[in-house]
Symmetry: C2
């Protein structure tokens, strides 16, 4: 972690450490601020400062000199609350922060990134948003997205619902990228929204000059002001900092650990390409903005097992879930929706105990078809629910939600196999496979 | 399942059912054979016949008439063993059949496809292979690949080893596609081979006119006669029936449920593009054919858990694996290699009991980097082994193999983090992400 090469020597020349307040002089300009840490793979030509205004900036050091002003002991700069005048011509967009890199600061003790900013701070870092909309910011909670769980989906949905009920023309949800697609899928089922609900995040901390946070936030606010009244996910479309893709919340999946264009629509096209000033619709088949009241159906069953099938998986693991009182099982099977024959009896036992079992494919692309091979037919015979072209993660989220709505096994099956939010399509998806 | 539309009416006109032996007359030609079933999504313009010669053929019916010769009760046509003269100029290639669609027939009772052919039958259906090589065929076993398990990896490896030891210049392994990439990864670790070992399969049954089996087999034999002495996987490169990609066995993953070009190299390029008559090398950095003796290290630990992390996963499931005597755990984490904080204590407990835990990413593309965020750093602190850019499936297979080689926890860590067969590369993989 941290500075290396030129940048490290530059800091050492004045005995400066991360967290210290410094003055950096360049021929035309002088900066004062706190030195922030950088990630390992950053170049060695920049120092990142948090200015007293609250902005972060990367200062190129080739013709700069540095002076230590104050040792860094104060971990955080306190900022006054934002005071912004509303423009009645513009839509009212709420930004809800749940945590994640998009709302992160550097942890000065460990050098790692952890989430801490409130939604208010997002605005401070992106004042141009105020040209697009009146922005209200609110932090719901502040957790890393790997720690999200079903009860937080519900909390997030309720916060979004309140914003819409209170008159927001659109809602942006800032969220960590790791599990953003699980949460966007959850809200797709929990909420029926008459306005856009747009998830966004960042693959790189906003304390880094190469951060993708700013474009993602700007495009998300643009999408939240649009006519696309669905739960969507807005992130970089390419590695360039130019446009974002707006994905349906039930079709997106994080497909790269670090690239900015990590989110892809699977088995569908993105709904739109978005720049800070424009939306280009790709799939016109979306739910349009309306003046209907929002609805929320926020009962969730948390005890759903999500199991990846693999060579060597033992039926005992599924027995354990049944013994432990799990109420649903989603299998990420192989190929067209298969698992080893040895699992079939215990999956049959699950169904007979009233625990529904749904089948998806770890291929991700394409659709489950359990009529082709004998294993699939045996699974269908055992009552396993085929999930068509639904992503495994979405089927898991949907099962949690469906079991919150009904106890009736027949209804569970009906609901799992019925398209509710674009997660399940009859049309062939062969053409959507790029990679 | 089965015939529909025109084709169905055509059969019904003579009261013909699947399995019956018929005569179909066209203006220029007359066919006699058994009517085979077709899959749901087949067109309604063809009837598929198994001719008395053993070949299957799709007959276009627009100008045809049909006559019932015999009700189908005999489920299988017995064929005489192949007698082929060796050409001393050509390499000796062994084709080992493990089952799967590439070696499948139709099940006349249910209409579904199940594996039954021996490797000998592959040759019968692809006589042009004899222009490329002297072919020896052998069926090791006959199972659907969803039923593969670690002990079959070992059996397959031993069969391949015997063929090489007995003088084969290359080996093709016919395998079901569902778990082919798990088995190709396993043989990459188990075998040290001086000649090519090429896995192949089919996405569509060879009883269907649109089958991909023939091109895959031909290209695989070509690759097995090449200089690329690694364990590889050879399947369609595109949806066209023109070329195949030769993937490194530890880099391939099935990425579409039904497309012929379902296998993709992840975090690397394919090694080569292969046609029946030519190999175009893409990545020249392969192990070359040599006259060394093959080696086999075939001890495998079967009790390895492969767990996908998700919002709502409970630590109790990992406790269960520990109680049940599992000896290794591979986590398919989120993002850069994360899982919920709530799992960290039990993962720490696993390590302290001598059960190694390895971390991969469900993003598939990119690499695990657990230094960036606090969760990753806590996991590293708990002793979790980061798996770099290794695919989750490959890390699982490798853990099974590593635990078969050593009980020493330090050695396990060393071996997991050391590149052995191209599964782990230091170079950035950002460019390999197509999407």
């Amino acid at each position: 972690m941290g500075y290396h090469g030129e940048a490290k020597r530059f800091l050492e020349s004045a005995s400066v450490e991360v967290g210290d307040t410094v003055r950096i002089k360049k021929p035309d300009v002088t900066y004062e601020g706190m030195v922030l840490d950088r990630a390992d793979d950053a170049d060695d030509r920049h120092i990142v400062l948090k200015l007293r205004s609250g902005y972060n900036i990367g200062v190129e050091i080739s013709d700069a000199s540095i002076e230590l002003l104050e040792r860094g002991s104060a971990p955080k700069i306190e900022l006054p609350p934002l005071e912004v005048t509303e423009n009645p011509e513009l839509p009212d967009i709420s930004i809800i922060s749940t945590g994640g890199t998009v709302a992160s600061i550097i942890d000065y003790r460990t050098g790692a990134v952890h989430p801490a900013f409130t939604a208010d701070d997002l605005l401070r870092a992106n004042p141009e948003l105020l040209d697009t909309a009146n922005i209200r910011g609110r932090a719901v909670f502040n957790i890393l997205s790997e720690n999200m769980k079903p009860e937080y989906w519900v909390e997030t949905a309720r916060a979004v619902f309140r914003e819409i009920r209170d008159g927001a023309d659109g809602v942006v949800v800032a969220h960590g990228t790791d599990t953003m697609h699980y949460t966007s899928a959850a809200l797709s089922f929990i909420l029926k929204t008459p306005v856009p609900v747009v998830f966004t995040g960042a693959q790189r901390s906003s304390d880094r000059p190469s951060s993708d946070a700013s474009l993602n936030i700007q495009c998300s606010v643009r999408a939240a002001a649009s006519d696309i009244a669905e739960v969507t996910l807005c992130m970089h479309a390419t590695m360039d900092d130019r446009t974002c893709h707006l994905h349906r919340g039930v079709r997106a999946r994080k497909m790269h650990t670090s690239r900015r264009d990590t989110f892809r629509s699977i088995n569908s096209l993105p709904l739109a390409e978005v720049s800070p000033h424009e939306i280009r619709v790709i799939d016109g088949n979306y739910r349009e903005r309306s003046s209907e009241e929002p609805e929320i159906m926020d009962r969730i069953e948390e005890r759903v097992a999500f199991i990846k099938s693999y060579p060597g998986i033992q039926p005992e693991i599924i027995e354990w879930y049944l013994e432990d009182g799990y109420r649903g099982i989603v299998v990420e099977g192989t190929g067209l929706g298969h698992c080893p024959d040895s699992l079939i009896p215990v999956l049959e036992e699950a169904q007979s105990r009233g625990v529904p079992v749904a089948m998806t494919s770890q291929c991700l692309n394409g659709r489950v078809n359990m009529n082709v091979y004998s294993t699939g037919r045996r699974l269908l015979g055992a009552g396993v629910i085929p999930c068509g072209d639904m992503l495994p993660e979405v089927a898991y989220v949907k099962m949690c939600w469906v079991l919150g709505q009904t106890d009736d096994q027949y209804e569970v099956r009906e609901m799992m196999m019925k398209n509710m939010a674009g997660e399940l399509q009859d049309r062939s998806s062969i053409a959507y496979f790029r990679g």
